[in-house]
Amino acid sequence: MNLTLKIWRQKDKATPGKFETYDAKDISPDMSFLEMLDVVSERAQANGQEPCAFDHDCREGICGMCSLVINGVPHGPEAATTTCQLHMRKFKDGDNIVIEPWRASAFPVLRDLVVDRSAFDRIQQKGGFVSINTGGTPDGNAIPISKKEADLAMDAASCIGCGACVAACKNASAMLFVGAKVSQYMHLPQGQAERSRRVLAMVEQHDAEGFGACSNFQECEAVCPKEISVRVIAEMNRDYLRAALVGTDA
């Protein structure tokens, strides 16, 4: 297949960026989207152009490092799929493809298609954990957990922290990301002791990082490569309200 790519190029955080156009000729439909970019970069390099920087690592859809807004959609046109698992057979010969970084003020562009997502780490550091040290824990079977609750926790815990939810949201809200972590612990007995404190602290940090509020458009759920349900936002809101009213000791 032959394609035309419009790729966002930006030297660093301080320099304004712009779109540049690349011809992608003889692309195999069996390539992944990132392999297609590898090939285009390799050819550009041979012509004296610096390769385009984009984040990627595991290339099997689990590390959450790859990103890219492809034709306006985070992670591109295939549902429940990260960019690294998107294959070129989902495009047609002659297509124009516009490739942009995640756009959000809380995710500043570092270079080309690479953004700084350390805001997610800082939110996690405020409460995305159970405060126990290594050692001295009870036997794993000492706390029975119903399969239903364990499954709900696992559904939420499968978030890969990629940030597509933010990129899709017109408010650049990270409520799906925060909700997923809050929900995971909410459904487990281990998470109860810090339940109120956690939700208040994580939401406070979310707001401080410059992410917007949720206005229930559910674009985040539509683009989430792990199909995290907006149920987690509802659960988080309920817990937040409860914690705000009754305080962190309850």
Binding site: P51, R59, E60, G64, T134, G140, I143, K147, M154
Partner: protein, 640 residues
């Protein structure tokens, strides 16, 4: 100057060794711990868990990763599960059985004492992870669920759907995040270690490059911990993440750390076959699939190109069930991989290039129903379909072996310290526990055992007894190491040739896979040893890295890693040539039985091959650590 290795292996009854050893370790006074600074490089299961635990104990921890967040480390991609000798299923498991299975699975090329300790602490890992809120699979009664996995005849594997590595890593990441929030760990993301700094014969710091700004920095400490994973990407195509590399351990090797058993590389039997020259990585399909899938190839070559659904039962060769009736489709990884290769070598392989075998779920779907199979493997089937455009519910999967894990790594003693005082190595980066072959679901176990329950004790002994003066980073050794790194970065940029770093990596990888892959022989290895130095010469004469060193430069990052693979590859081949036997993941064609099974040579090769850098990468010195078996008797591994 020759080195004598002291493994510091305890004596006395196996079951009490770790207890006795821990008692004999010197402790650091709780009030003094904050005065000791520890550098941890890497944030996978080993590095993440070690960073969190050391900080909880009170040490001043500085942790580094090259990714944008510690949560990205490649441990996250492990699918199947984690072993522990809990015996929750009441099927006869025990610490001793897990120890025995692991040492046998490793083809008797690991230390008894290390492996026994691993089995002992395995049970604490599960408790720890549950307490952290890791959502392991549960039974309806609320208890933890187990499955049998990768060649084990008991159900001792704990799992979280097909994302066990992810959930365990996020558990360690949550513990690490808590410490970062408390200010006890300083986290350095997008920061790559490029050298180790030795002062007065002790490891005292590292040199890093900030991958965003290009700034070269030094960090001084009282001890250094490498948790930088394996070197599978020396083969270019592997199941490793694109960024996984050998640089940190190789740089430490060139500063004097011994590299042990580099030829022990694991080829995983169930990966999606290569589809074309553009391929950048290979994707693993969890071997838990072999619990329900049946592996076969057509009985006759003539049927190879046919639609597999049209090939009648009588014309199929379920070769694992035929050759290994006791273990069938569940034989260990090395056995399954080589059997697949033999079928393809016979011309009975399927798919592009004849490099594939079928993994068929139709019987399982008939037996338990599509919904049960979907519940067990749904996410894996979807992943397979995204990549190949075929549905495993309808058509048998095609799989082929791929490079997956490195059993070899930097040599460490029982305290997980290398031969360089102060330099500790944990997780896949060390060589210690898996011998010549790792069993399924044991990598997660070892990473977390090292990080949560072993290193945090043993490093205290070093800190309490090393008697070294504080360093600031201004010492001449630091300045010299920075100058070396700067020179190296500049020389990569200065070549200004024609070929990209990736093109060299691809060529090196192909050479390694062809000559030092699933089956090796003296002629092929010698050929690789002849060709690698000339490829390296071409690399340094014709490399093309655009841009500069003072900014975000992806080609420069890649070039540095490829440069180290170019040197390391030679050591791997040399180790493979020297080891004139077949054991575990190392298969030498000259040493096999009439039926093609591996033949060990215990008399000559029951040792750890630890290689010392002599100043010339082509002339390393071999130092042997003899392996002594007092508890188990090395026997021929039979899965028939």
């Amino acid at each position: 100057m020759s080195i004598t290795l002291d493994s510091k292996t305890p004596t006395g009854p196996l079951a009490q060794q770790w207890d006795t050893h821990r008692f004999n370790l010197k402790l650091v006074n709780p009030a003094n711990k904050r005065k000791f600074k520890v550098i941890v490089v890497g944030t996978g299961l080993a590095g993440g868990s070690a960073s969190a635990t050391l900080a909880e104990l009170g040490y001043d921890v500085h942790t580094f990763c090259f990714q944008d967040s510690p949560r990205r480390a490649h441990s996250i991609a492990a699918q199947g599960g984690i072993n522990a000798a809990k015996n929750y299923q009441n099927d006869g498991d025990s610490v001793y059985r897990l120890f025995y299975d692991t040492i046998k699975g490793g083809d008797y090329r690991a230390r008894e004492s290390n492996v026994y300790r691993l089995a002992q602490v395995s049970t604490s890992i599960i408790d720890q992870c549950v307490a952290q809120g890791v959502p392991f699979a549960r039974e309806y009664g609320g208890n933890l669920s187990n499955r049998s996995f990768g060649g084990a005849q008991v159900s001792r594997t704990f799992y979280a759907r097909g994302q066990t590595g992810q959930q365990l890593l996020l558990g360690a990441y949550s513990a690490l995040s808590r410490q970062v929030g408390l200010g006890t760990v300083k986290m350095h993301n997008r920061s790559e270690m490029l050298d180790l700094v030795m002062v007065n014969g002790h490891a005292r710091g590292i040199v890093t490059r900030d991958l965003v700004s290009g700034k070269i920095e030094t960090f001084a400490a009282d001890a250094v911990v490498l948790a930088t994973g394996g070197y599978g990407n020396v083969f270019f195509l592997s199941t490793n993440a694109i960024g996984s590399n050998v640089t940190a351990t190789w740089r430490a090797h060139k500063r004097g750390a011994l590299f042990a058993n580099p030829c022990y590389t694991q080829i995983h039997p169930t990966c999606i076959p290569v589809s074309g020259d553009h391929q950048s990585k290979l994707t693993l399909m969890s071997e838990s699939l072999r619990n329900d899938g049946r592996v076969w190839v057509p009985l006759e070559k003539a049927d190879v190109g046919k639609d597999p659904r049209q090939i009648p039962e009588a014309k199929r060769d379920y070769y694992l069930e035929r050759i290994y009736p006791a273990f069938g489709n569940l034989v260990p990884r090395d056995i399954a991989s080589r059997a697949a290769k033999r079928m393809c070598d016979e011309g009975r392989g399927v798919g592009p290039g004849g490099l594939g075998v079928y993994l068929d779920f139709s019987d399982a779907i008939k037996r338990v129903g599509k919904h049960v199979i979907s519940e067990r493997y749904g996410n894996l089937f979807e992943m397979y379909q995204r990549i190949t455009d075929e549905s495993p519910y309808e058509v048998p999967m095609r799989i082929y072996p791929a490079v997956h894990y490195a059993m070899g790594g930097l040599w460490v003693d029982y305290n997980l310290m290398s031969n360089l005082p102060g330099l500790h190595v944990i997780g896949e980066a060390n060589f210690s526990d898996h011998g010549a072959n790792r069993l399924g679901a044991s990598a997660l176990m070892q990473g977390l055992a090292d990080g949560y329950f072993i290193l945090p004790y043993t490093i205290g002994n070093y800190l309490a007894t090393s008697g070294q003066k504080k360093v600031t980073g201004d010492e001449p050794e630091f300045k010299a190491a920075v100058a070396d790194v700067q020179k190296r970065v500049a020389s990569l940029l200065a070549v200004k040739g024609k070929r990209s770093p990736s093109s060299f990596h691809r060529e090196l990888g192909k050479l390694m896979w062809d000559n030092c892959g699933m089956a090796r022989n003296a002629k092929g290895l010698q050929e690789a040893l002849d060709r690698i130095p000339s490829l390296r010469e071409e690399f340094w004469g014709n490399l093309n890295v655009l841009g500069d060193g003072d900014s975000y430069n992806v080609a420069l990052e890649k070039a540095g890693r490829v440069a180290d693979f170019m040197e390391f590859a030679e050591l791997l081949c040399r180790d493979a040539l020297t080891r004139e036997e077949s054991c575990g993941g190392h298969f030498r064609e000259e040493y096999q039985s009439e039926t093609g099974e591996a033949e060990r040579n215990d008399e000559k090769f029951t040792y750890v091959a630890a290689w010392n850098y002599t100043g010339d990468v082509s002339k390393p010195e071999l130092i042997k650590e003899p392996l002594i078996f007092e508890e188990v008797h090395p026997s021929t591994r039979s899965y028939k």
